[in-house]
Symmetry: C2
Subunit: 110 residues, 2 copies
DNA sequence: AGCAATGGTAAGTATATACTTACGGTAAGT
DNA sequence: ACTTACCGTAAGTATATACTTACCATTGCT
């Protein structure tokens, strides 16, 4: 479980990505994350569940609180995808440019 | 226009990412992309519009056909986001680990 | 035991969106 | 001019989902 599909889908929602980005600098509690966000605490809990299922965060117990933090492995998954895709896209882009120069059929963007 | 938000949101749908990935190796027409996908051609057109608005693809005219191809700049945008985030997450991760070692309060994952 | 803080979850709702069919418009070939 | 291929868009629908409030369980403190 926790493939690239889930990672990208999890980060597609702006609110959920805001939740995620609030964990960059280290572990934070749910109420702490919810403070400053325009949604309720349960909403944050639900977002954290999605992020957790996607492998982007994990949680530890700290007394009555529960601390969430970023799982670098999940981020690395997405990074790898775009890294690989970026190289492949660049190759396809250059080859297409060379083909177009040898046989200029296609017209301008429109 | 065309920020990271739009890029990630555009690639969050599995079908739309399949459309996108079919353009990696160079320009292809709409009907060509639609072939082999389990959705109709208009659906592909709509997906391509979203991808275009996100800055992930652009199109050129080739007679009656319209060739779509990947815009490497859009991919680079997402790559940069995850690259930057990955480094920040790693830093926060290590700092949290060091804090936990100095003062072991938090318990196991659960 | 009583109380306050934390947070997960259920239920319900409203909006977003991915898909379909139908239609129109343009370009190339006969 | 007619036909064919290509493709964008409008309209409608069904599903997904992000959010709310309400409720309950757990933990720590006095």
């Amino acid at each position: 479980m926790a493939n690239v599909n889930d990672v990208i889908a999890a980060l597609s929602d702006p609110t959920r990505r805001a939740v995620f980005e609030r964990l960059v600098h280290g572990p934070r509690s749910v109420v702490d994350v919810a403070k400053g966000l325009p949604v309720s605490r349960p909403a944050v809990s639900q977002h954290l569940k999605v992020l957790k299922d996607a492998g982007l965060v994990f949680d530890t117990r700290d007394g009555a609180r529960r601390l969430y933090q970023v799982d670098p492995a999940g981020v690395e998954l997405a990074w790898r995808y775009f890294d690989r895709f970026w190289n492949k896209a660049l190759t396809g882009f250059k080859e297409a440019a060379e083909r177009a120069q040898r046989a200029p059929h296609a017209e301008d963007k429109s």
